[in-house]
C-alpha cells in the first residue's frame, strides 16, 4: 500500500515534518534529528521510486483521487526521478552535516526556524521536481524560494540581508513571469496539467500568444536558474548565506531550475516548437558560452572562496544550457549528467568550505595560507572536489565534459568544444589558487592555529567526494539513466 503512495509521500513527509520541527521549538537537537531522519526517509523513497520507474516506466499519482487534468497529479519519469535522487541524496548528506555547522554560524534561538526552513526548502524542491501540474509548480516554487530567502538572510554578515533582499526581488519577478507564462498557456489551452498542456499545445500550432508565453516562461525560469546575465543575485546569496545553506542550494536549487527548463522546453512545448519554431538554442548557446567564459574569469579574481564557487556555479550552469542548446540526445544527456555531477562536486566543495569556515570563521583566501597541513582532510576534500570541477579523468566532471565535447563535435560545432575546454582550463586556475594558498604558503606566525574540523563535518563531505569518484569511475548508472531519459524526451512527441 505504501509503495502506491510514494510519490505523494516524497513531498508530504518533509512538508509535515516542518511544522513538527517548529513545534519542537526549544528542543533544537530533536529538531535536527527529526530533519535528518526525514531526509534519509526521502532518499529511501526516491530510491524506491527510481526502482519503480526502472521497472514499469512512468508513475502517476492523482491527488484527491481526481483524475488529471481536473486534479493535480504527480508524475514520475526517468527525468525527474534522477533529480529527485539528486535532491534527496544531497539532503541526506547535508542534514547530518548541518548540526555542527549551524551551531557555529546561526543563533541558537533561530536554529529551530533554521531546520524548519531547511525542511520546507527540501519539500519545495522535491515538489517542483515531481509535480505534473504547471500551477502547482509555481506554488511549490514559492515554498522553496521563501524558505531560501529566509535561510540566506540568516548569514552572519549583514550583507546576507541585502543579498537575500536582492534575491527576493529577482526571484519574485521570476516567479511572476512564470505566473504570466502559465496564465497565457492556460488561456490558450484551458488546462494546467503538463502532459495535457503538451498535447494541446501541439494542436494549437504557432501563435503569437504562445510565443509570448514561451518567452515569459524562459525568462522567469532563467532568473531562477541564474542564467547569464540574470545571475546577479546568485554570487552574493551563496557567499553570505550560512555555509550549509550555500552548499545545499548550490547543489540542488539551480539544478531543479534547470530541470524545470528542460521540462518546459521538451515535455510541455516539445522540442519541435522550442527549437524549430522558437530557435531557443540560438539564445541558449551564446548565453551559455558567455557564462562559461565570463563568470569563470570573474571567479579567478574572487577573494572569498564561497563567492568564487558561486561564480563557478554560474559557469557550470552555462555548460548545462549549452548542452540543451545543442539539440541532440547526446547534448541533453550531457546536460542531465552534468546536473547530477555538478551537484556532487559543488556539494563537496561547499561542504569543505563549510568546514574551513567552521574553524576560520570565514573563507577568505588570504586567511587560508598553509591550512592544508592543519586541516588535511578538509583541504584534501577540496582538492578532490576541485579536480572533479576541472574535469580530471576518473571524476564525474570528466564524464560530463566528455559528453558535452562529444555532443559539440557530433554537430561539428568545434568552437563550442574549444570554449568548453577553455572553461576547464580557467577552472584549473581558480582551483589552483586555493591549493597553492593552502599547501604551498606558510601559515603566518601570528595567525591562530587551526585544527582539523570535527568528524561530523568531515564524514558527509567525504561521502560526497567519494561519490564524485565512484560515479566518475563507474558511470554506467548515471549515463544509462540520463541517456534513456534524453532519448525519451526527444522521442516522445
Amino acid at each position: 500500500m505504501i509503495s502506491h503512495h510514494l510519490p505523494a509521500l516524497q513531498v508530504v513527509v518533509p512538508l509535515m515534518a516542518a511544522p513538527l520541527c517548529f513545534l519542537l521549538g526549544r528542543y533544537r537537537r530533536l529538531g535536527w534529528i527529526l530533519s535528518t531522519l526525514v531526509s534519509w526517509l526521502c532518499l529511501w523513497i526516491a530510491v524506491r521510486l527510481a526502482f519503480q520507474v526502472a521497472d514499469g516506466g512512468q508513475i502517476q499519482y492523482a491527488f484527491g483521487g481526481w483524475a488529471p487534468p481536473w486534479g493535480i497529479e504527480y508524475r514520475v519519469d526517468q527525468l525527474n526521478v534522477l533529480v529527485l535522487l539528486i535532491v534527496s541524496g544531497i539532503a541526506s548528506v547535508m542534514f547530518p552535516y548541518s548540526w555542527s555547522s549551524v551551531q557555529n554560524e546561526v543563533d541558537p534561538e533561530q536554529q529551530p526556524l533554521f531546520f524548519t526552513c531547511m525542511l520546507l526548502c527540501l519539500a519545495g524542491l522535491l515538489g517542483i521536481t515531481i509535480t505534473g501540474d504547471a500551477f502547482n509548480l509555481f506554488v511549490l516554487l514559492e515554498i522553496s524560494s521563501l524558505s531560501t530567502y529566509t535561510l540566506i538572510s540568516l548569514g552572519r554578515d549583514r550583507r546576507a540581508l541585502t543579498a537575500s533582499f536582492q534575491y527576493l526581488i529577482m526571484g519574485t519577478i521570476g516567479a511572476t513571469f512564470i505566473l504570466i507564462g502559465v496564465g497565457i498557456l492556460y488561456m490558450l489551452t484551458g488546462t494546467l496539467n503538463m502532459a495535457d498542456l503538451s498535447d494541446r499545445i501541439g494542436e494549437i500550432g504557432e501563435s503569437r500568444a504562445l510565443q509570448a508565453g514561451f518567452g515569459f516562461l524562459i525568462v522567469g525560469i532563467g532568473l531562477k536558474l541564474a542564467m547569464f546575465p540574470l545571475h546577479l543575485w546568485l554570487p552574493n546569496a551563496y557567499a553570505f548565506a550560512p555555509s550549509i545553506v550555500s552548499a545545499f542550494i548550490a547543489a540542488t536549487a539551480t539544478k531543479v531550475a534547470v530541470y524545470v527548463m528542460v521540462r518546459y522546453l521538451f515535455t510541455i512545448f516539445g522540442h519541435e516548437f522550442s527549437f524549430s519554431a522558437m530557435y531557443i538554442h540560438w539564445l541558449l548557446i551564446p548565453v551559455g558560452l558567455i557564462a562559461v567564459l565570463f563568470t569563470s574569469i570573474v571567479a579567478v579574481f574572487q577573494r572569498d572562496i564561497k563567492r568564487m564557487l558561486a561564480y563557478s556555479s554560474v559557469a557550470q550552469i552555462g555548460y548545462m544550457l549549452v548542452g540543451i542548446g545543442l539539440v541532440s540526445t547526446t547534448g541533453l544527456t550531457a546536460t542531465l549528467l552534468h546536473l547530477f555531477n555538478h551537484a556532487l562536486m559543488k556539494g563537496a566543495l561547499f561542504l569543505s568550505m563549510g568546514a574551513v569556515c567552521y574553524r576560520l570563521g570565514n573563507t577568505l583566501i588570504d586567511n587560508m595560507d598553509g591550512i592544508g597541513r592543519q586541516m588535511p582532510w578538509t583541504m584534501g576534500a577540496f582538492v578532490a572536489g576541485g579536480l572533479s570541477l576541472i574535469g580530471v579523468p576518473l571524476t564525474v566532471g570528466f564524464i560530463s565534459k566528455w559528453y558535452l565535447i562529444l555532443a559539440a563535435l557530433e554537430k561539428g560545432w568545434w568552437p563550442i568544444a574549444v570554449i568548453v575546454v577553455l572553461g576547464s582550463l580557467i577552472a584549473v586556475i581558480y582551483v589552483w589558487r586555493v591549493v597553492e594558498a593552502a599547501y604551498l604558503h606558510q601559515r603566518p606566525d601570528q595567525s591562530v592555529t587551526v585544527v582539523e574540523a570535527p568528524a561530523s563535518l568531515l564524514v558527509p563531505t567525504w561521502i560526497l567526494v567519494l561519490a564524485n569518484y565512484y560515479f566518475g569511475i563507474d558511470a554506467s548508472f548515471t549515463t544509462g539513466f540520463t541517456s534513456s531519459a534524453a532519448t525519451t524526451l526527444f522521442g516522445a512527441p
Binding site: 514559492e142 521563501l146 530567502y149 527576493l168 526581488i169 511572476t176 496564465g183
Partner: protein, 121 residues
Amino acid sequence: MNAFSLFNYWIVIILMMAGFYTVIASGNLVKKIVGLNIFQTSVFIMYISMGKVIGGTAPIVTVNSELYSNPLPHVLILTAIVVAVATTALGLSLVIRIKEAYHSIEEDDILAISQREDEAE
C-alpha cells in the same frame, strides 16, 4: 469587438509594466516592494479577466443561472494572492533588518557600503 475584447488585457499590461518599472527602477526598498505588489496584482487581474464569461455569473450554483464564470482562475488567484502577501511580509521584514544594519533603505547607499566592505576584506 476585437479591439474592445483586448482592451482589458492592454490595461492590465500597462499596470503590470508600471509595477515592474517601479521594482527595477526604484532605489527605495519599500517602494520596490510596493511595485512588486502592483506587478503581481495586475497579473491577478489578467487571470481573472480570462476567467470571465460575458453573461455569466459568479461561480456559485444558483437555480436561476446557467452560465457561470470560470472558477479555476479564481482559485489560482486566491492562492497567488496568499503567496504575494507572504512574499511581501518577508520582504518587509528584510527591509526592517536592512534598515537596522545599514541605517538606510536606499539601494545606492547600501551598495556603496557593501562595496566598501568587499574591498576591506
